[in-house]
Subunit: 113 residues, 2 copies
């Protein structure tokens, strides 16, 4: 199976990594929608938000904790930021490996797309 985010997690494909540990990798989005736009992905291939099942609860929660740590590291935590997960066609999902968008450095509008 060909998955660009599995390749990044495995180091087979370059990315501007800002954080990594045994469970997740965080890197700058190549098509940023805000001054700071980072993706947090699990190393495990989970196809998307809908595939997060009970055995993944701690891992999925860890992605959220890491997003906060990255926000602090990149200096956007105090002013605020938005976290986004897209599922399927209407959600705008483009890569079918779970990824959490962290967007900050500008005022995010409402509705969220």
């Amino acid at each position: 199976m060909n998955c660009v985010f599995c390749d990044i997690a495995a180091g087979r494909r370059q990315a501007a990594i800002v954080y990594e540990d045994e469970q997740v990798v965080a890197f700058h989005d190549i098509n940023p929608q805000a001054p700071v736009h980072v993706l947090v992905i699990p190393r495990e291939h989970i196809p998307g938000p809908l595939a997060i099942a009970a055995p993944h609860e701690a891992l999925a929660g860890h992605m959220l904790v890491v997003a906060g740590q990255v926000a602090q590291d990149l200096g956007i935590a105090t002013d605020g930021y938005r976290l986004v997960l897209n599922q399927g066609t209407l959600g705008g999902q483009s890569v079918f490996h779970l990824h959490l968008h962290l967007l900050g450095g500008r005022r995010m509008r409402w509705p969220p797309g």
Copy 2:
């Protein structure tokens, strides 16, 4: 401390609840931004995404699992949906009790606000 989402979780304030268990409550947003717009909150008062720390990992992940279950229950899972968490001023956070937005039933645009 006065918190509207603590009040909903405790049953002291009405909400159009679609799911609840020991850890979380899900209910329709009173100002919907999509045909389906549900909020998933933890019963525990966590101020926002940045306050999700390691001890909350399973709880935060459970919120994501529940969002997927609610999406299926409300018939928006197959077509897709978006999940959003807002932190602080630039993120557009308006209630300072952690809440996960589940939006679906229409095509979500990019950027996400």
